[in-house]
Symmetry: C2
Subunit: 338 residues, 2 copies
């Protein structure tokens, strides 16, 4: 089969890779219906993370089960399934606590930009849809593999409640779905921080009530102005830089909460500032497996349509253009069809 | 009157200071029944915080109201009162949210190691006891001004629940009262990290079920061993150094919570470690005013006896020895009687 391989900064190739097979009894093999490019893929793509050797890419996926190992009981060939970017056994203490992305036996899924995918710990990782979905539902189902679950976790970690005032830092797909999540959780006011018109439009469609175009200290000032000097109850940090993290912390009222899901790059938090900021801080790699059944219901019943974040759909062999378009911010998020 | 003044590292003097008077209509003047030395007083005492000029000291107090300003309605002369180390109006949005130590009009009380004290924002700050208490109750009442409320906030911020496994980093008075708080909140297991026998004894008396003497990475290992490799549900950080903070974060299970109340000195948290640690982080200067009525009930009814942390009681004129004894760890906490 042919799949995506990253060779170095801005050098993604579509080339021959071994077709995966069952290695362990808990594995499943998936015929991938759709995969995509993640904002976090851009870190190595831009050379911020080193690429010591040619590296297969992709961690978001949904598709049809082709084959399962001898231990697998919860999914079977022919079913349409979605799984998290971290495989998890869903039985260890961390999984039971709802932190499947810290599963004691977790394995990162890193080869999903391909037509066929091996998923370890299939029973714990995969969730089957009620039926094989129609094509128009696939983009929204695909988002449950990472980006929608991550936006949802950001809102959950930021303690969004009915009536909350919420600010969202970052207008990538995760941030936009953080807006959708906050709205769905009953937030009264959702302030999206964005300076890109197309993203502002989608943010409003997802439920944003206000747009703030300023960043850094000025962005914090605007949030304060919009909240009578108090700050937001909840802030979703969906970028992962020092500036975005400090923007999130400083825009939060004392006693409020920051949910952070942007993978931190070069972030160092000053203990004293954090102390006097009085905020709650929670985040990390989203335990999307926790939210998968609930979010699947919401997508299946048409209550949410997170697939709208895909504004570029390409055949998988054009994966390089998919990365380029996101890198240059021409696309919010690229869906790839094998 | 004569009170404590810090001149430089390890140089506390008991000397003439102006007797405070009503300055603003919201003020009250208190005849101090008891005050004490705080662990945080040791930072400037040890020269870690600079002392640019001779500085009056003390922020924990209880006593009898002598006089009130014309705006004060909630307390009156003759009443025995306790207040937080931050004066707060108790009406602003931050106070309403329960974060009185971030009150929009907060004022730090910094002159309490003296026989007479001016308390600003008296209506918002002071809570009167049902009667003038007997002498034996005064030490426990005094703890509600800071140290007991701070230990309680650490447990509250660390989300301690009935059945929780809790670890406490720091065996100063705050840490010990964190043990008491966690126990009172229903924790099943309370692991005190201490290598001092007298403090271990008090920790056990307050409800500790386990003692861990190791520190740093070894301390983390011991907590992991005691929790089947999982980590504690809640960890109370009651020191404020880089080592203690990392010890707290790493001893917490994914999805667990760190409540931190040690004033951070030179603490910088690595964003990536925090991200993959998956912990909840909350803390800051304790909003002891929030907890004061509830904790006053517990002390008044004899359900808790936090005053046991005072293992050295001195007349105020021996304040210098009070600091020395704590600095040299001969005393857990010094109570001073004017």
């Amino acid at each position: 089969m042919r799949g995506a391989v990253l060779y170095g900064p801005r050098d993604v190739r579509f080339e021959e890779r071994d077709t995966p097979t069952i290695i362990k009894p808990a594995d499943a093999i998936i015929r991938v219906s759709a995969t995509c490019v993640c904002g976090s893929d851009l870190w190595p793509y831009r050379g911020v993370n080193p690429i010591p050797q040619p590296t297969p890419m992709g961690h978001e996926y949904c598709g049809i089960v082709e084959e399962v190992g001898s231990d697998v009981t919860s999914v079977k060939p022919g079913q349409f399934v979605i799984g998290s970017f971290f495989a998890s056994d869903n039985t260890c203490p961390h999984c039971h606590a709802g932190y499947q992305s810290s599963c004691q036996h977790r394995e990162f899924i890193g080869t999903a930009q391909a037509p066929v995918l091996r998923v370890p710990l299939a029973d714990g990782t995969l969730v089957a849809t009620p039926d094989v979905p129609s094509n128009d539902l696939v983009p929204s189902l695909l988002t449950l593999s990472d980006v929608m679950g991550t936006g949802w976790f950001a809102a959950d970690a930021a303690n969004v409640k009915p009536g909350s005032t919420v600010a969202v830092v970052g207008d990538g797909a995760v941030g936009l779905l953080g807006v959708l999540s906050a709205k769905h959780m009953g937030a009264e006011r959702v302030i999206a921080m964005s300076r890109h018109e197309s993203r502002q439009r989608l943010a409003r469609e997802f439920g944003a009530t206000d747009i703030v175009t300023e960043r850094g200290d000025e962005g914090v000032e605007r949030i304060k102005e919009l909240t009578n000097g108090v700050g937001a109850d909840s802030v979703l940090e969906c970028v992962g830089t020092q500036e975005s993290m400090m923007q999130a912390i400083q825009a939060t009222r004392p006693g409020g909460a920051v949910g952070y899901v942007g993978v931190p790059h070069g972030v160092a938090l000053d203990g004293e500032k954090l102390f006097y900021g009085h905020v709650h801080l929670h985040g990390g790699p989203a335990p999307v497996r926790r939210f998968l059944p609930q979010l699947l219901d919401l997508v299946w019943s048409g209550k949410i349509n997170p697939g709208k974040v895909f504004d570029l759909i390409l055949p998988l062999d054009q994966v390089a253009e998919g990365y380029r378009a996101m890198d240059e911010r021409r696309a919010i998020k690229t869906l790839l069809r094998p």
